[in-house]
Symmetry: D2
Subunit: 341 residues, 4 copies
């Protein structure tokens, strides 16, 4: 009954997932690994796991029942298509793919296969705080959601390596995905405003302020600060017709001392979302053991790609950039935007 | 040493200020009142106060040392000009005046007089929570302010009487004024977005989302909800370079019961800002006793007029509406926008 | 209509009350002062106030309508009796008197006079947080109060000058009085436990833990720490049958920085209770203008004296020390302990 | 590498642990079960697990590497002794045993064996909130701990079935154990006070107030309420020399609605401590796989037995009941009370 898993890509995130599958979770075994750096793959491989020469070999191996893709983005399309061709469930880290066209190709293949196989790594959907927030909104006692204020603060980014496209390409996608999921809605357009820059980032475009226009008319405003020094701080508040619901502070000892009455803030995303990552794979294992996938889908990865593209266009244009999705294949459920009317 | 005050307009707000001056505050005496409804003026007049037939008579009376204007907006300009002509300190409730041209005329008169006489009724500047927030920002330990998230929620508005212009004309001005004051900055442009409407207001444009672009480049986003049912909820958070500072919850008993662990929220602006109103007049009395005015000035009333006008234009245009102020007269201090560079 | 007040004792607290009566409050005028140090009295006297040679002269002066006693404790009895003999309302700082016998003599005189004249300086009863807490308890939705956890922390005490009796004589009385008032109850016995001592106080008995047994059976536990360094921190939580109600944190800017998400704590009792002191006198002025007194009474001062005495006995005995009050004179209302049954 | 586990007792708690070991945790397999009710054992047994006729058969089976005891308390001693005789790691739910003499016999056997085998089910020690609290105290920045205020509230207890001994026998032991662990201290004496009773429990002795005197001199006060209706509410605050550290509220959506700004409270201990139970077994599996035990020990179970006995004596005597432990065997580490001096 144990799901036999192969891991493609044994960099930092791949190693962390191997640790998680080996030490934390049940019902799963890592039976194969591969990496462009074979020595790194061998070092990361658990006892008894095979080191494959290529992703293709791993995916096609009979001993591998399900695949985890932690390679770099440009390699994802080919690996996803191979998994779908083999009919094997696959977890794919963000980004799903790196272009709208690629996303459509993957979606076409999965739809043709006729069963969901792909789960994309939007871990926030598995965070207990976000799940409780969604349950409150969907409980309906506060009326319809009208606005969502999403705050995404990161302590620091590596100078030089981190470019001004990254807050929109890598960071915004989390807020965009969680907005779609929390509000059961789609994004129909994007605007970007660039406030006074933080002196901590030199010429880096930071902070960035984004407006996501939802199909229902709900408005999402996103504050992205990637160099705010004090910690990794994710906040969110949904304004509904008769009340408001927000993420709580993270549990932390309440200390009263000469700095006031206070609670520590997470240092980084690992600390903040460690349980969410565990839960993300717990659910993936359950679905994978049944030969399918649940959670964030190819459709969600496609949506994220469109939002990042539109956000980059919006920086350039200074105006509203619309998002036009294809009709939602039945495989991915009823149109949530319609449902929200 | 007691300041002898005349009150113009004895409607709800005028009566409340008379109560405040009579029962709560020291160093002040209401010696005269007037209203277009003489009977209402007589009823509101404290013992020993004279009921004047007209604002002009009140303002010119020798027994009146300082004036409080609580009449309706269109009457303000003439009354303010009369006070300035008489050299008497004057507190004027919002709006200062109802057009940019009128604001400039009042400013010209006050500048010509050569000493500040006018205080405008932006009571938030006297609220202890906002004052502490400003002190933290100006303390400088968090670096420069880059963004300000201002939330303005009102439980309900009278159906039919309340129009879609009012969130921008009457409500936004508080957020705009407090933004200028908190950030020591000026507003250079306004954008307005209209999210999905609350079903509680029928065709009312509610909520409204406003972006204020500050001269320094700082960006202010304002959520205005006027029908949110659960209470009067004013929140604000300033994002700076290395930290964030926010208004606290209002002090209220922490109750743990079947509704959770919870604190009551103010019902309306009277409850929320009662101490701020007291403090607003305390400081007006001190300055008035010295023949001058401090606090929000004619310049601030002028700025508020420009913001409201620009916001209404922005609703119509859907785009960015710039604000162009005249050079700031020396009477109103150094240019804060410059100071913020 | 202005209450003409004389102040006995112009030390630190007397000076602060003169400032409050002169600069903050309305409906009152300080017309006379006296002090054993005549120069100090003269320096503290507001313009137009007379400096009296003795308390007796001040109390008997026709121009003095009401008296404020800020002299040292041993002088209170004589001054209170003189005020009662003169039929003048009097505010008396803690302690009311310094012995049970003295308290009974003052009470006997006031009862014989037939109208309340004395208000004792238990300022916590005028604090908005405590008042809201009492309102919640008396609202009855949480059922009967069964326990009260009262925390009284002080940043530091002067080494050498501060003795081990003082936490019980000077500090505990506030918790005892507020317990009686919050719970509408009387104290029937006291126990004291002395935990491990703080190294910050040398041989000082600090912290001290006190149990107050209420007539209704409710139990109050009090943590007194007088040297806790980080601030002046007053907390309280009442456990009722179906819920719990507690004092909130003090309003303070919510700062997120490298020290966490945090709010400042008051530095000392002046900062914590400044509005309560103002309100205490506001209500005293109203009652005094009608020739009487409300708020904490001679009965409450008598109760405080008994508690402090019992607490000191309890330290010595290590056991339960009972408190036996006389029957409550009608002048001070119905027996609250009975009401609580 | 998978730990082969046998479970004795398949009642509610046993079934929950089987679920946890089977569905949630990794590195473990339930290979055997037994219960006095064989049908219940068979129903609870996972696929491929053997149903043993007796605890003795299960403990002695070669396929069982480690044992979990969820039988009723009076059966624990014999089962623990059998596990120790077999040299098998064993997790034992509370109570370890039901008398001081039994605890000493188990301890003697384990000490004679020479390696720790027993872990007792004090799950609070595995709760993330308590662990962070302990880390703050041991970090030392707040000075030595002097007092600990522990609040233990339960929504309701079954009328008739729940007796007045149970708050001391079953509930207090959690507060006692966590006090010893948080403060790295031992309990030297106990006092119990019984406040006014809640009308919700009829003649039930509820609430109960307990003082634990620690060997270091630190004082612990415990509020136990078992019928408080609103939820399961565990709070704790440690007062140290220069600061205070407390458990936070549980993470829950912050809702602003007509009930105020609020967060839900757990309904019962399952909800509150679900992650702690998971972690408790995670660590037991790791130690068990190495043939030993960590976490709460036989020594801790012995201490809990002494506290419960002393608390029951204290109710009867109304006074201080001392606790006298034997010298701590080296197997259980250095004397923490000494370490705390
Ligand atoms: Mg992810
Ligand atoms: Mg105003
Ligand atoms: Mg006082
Ligand atoms: Mg347990």
């Amino acid at each position: 009954m144990t799901l036999q898993v192969g891991v493609i890509g044994t960099g930092m995130i791949g190693q962390d997932h191997i640790r998680r599958l080996t030490k934390v979770l049940s019902g799963v075994e890592v039976v194969g690994v591969t990496d462009i750096d074979q020595a790194r793959a061998a070092a990361a491989a658990p006892e008894r796991a095979e080191v494959f020469a290529t992703p293709t070999a791993l995916i096609s191996s009979e001993k591998v029942q399900a695949v985890i893709i932690c390679s770099w983005g440009p390699a994802h399309e080919e690996q996803l298509l191979a998994c779908i061709a083999a009919g094997k469930p696959v977890f794919c880290e963000k980004p799903l793919v790196t272009s709208e066209a690629a996303a459509l190709r993957v979606m076409e293949a999965e739809v043709a296969f006729g069963r969901r196989l792909v789960q994309v790594g939007f871990m926030r959907r598995f965070d207990a705080d976000y799940r409780r927030l969604k349950a409150v909104i969907e409980g309906g006692k506060l009326g319809e959601p009208l606005m969502f204020h999403s705050v995404h603060r990161n302590a620091s980014v590596p100078e030089g390596l981190y470019t001004s496209e990254m807050p929109l390409n890598d960071t915004l996608v989390h807020d965009a995905d969680i907005s779609r999921w929390l509000l059961s809605d789609e994004i129909s357009g994007v605007e970007v405003r660039v406030p006074r820059r933080s002196s901590r980032g030199g010429k880096l475009r930071d902070p960035v302020f984004v407006l996501l226009h939802m199909a229902s008319g709900a408005l999402v405003d996103v504050e992205i600060s990637v160099n705010i020094s004090y910690g990794y701080d994710i906040r969110g508040e949904v304004s509904c017709e008769t009340g408001v619901a927000a993420l709580p502070n993270r549990p932390a000892t309440v200390i009263s001392d000469s700095n006031g009455i206070r609670q520590a803030i997470p240092e980084d995303w690992r600390e903040r979302f460690i349980e969410a990552y565990d839960q993300e794979f717990r659910e993936w294992i359950v679905a994978g053991s049944r030969g399918t996938a649940t959670g964030p889908s190819t459709w969600d990865g496609y949506a994220a790609t469109l939002v990042a593209d539109a956000a980059l266009r919006a920086v350039a244009s200074g105006g509203f950039e619309s998002i036009n999705m294809i009709a939602k294949p039945d495989l991915y459920g009823t149109s949530t935007a319609m449902a929200a009317e």
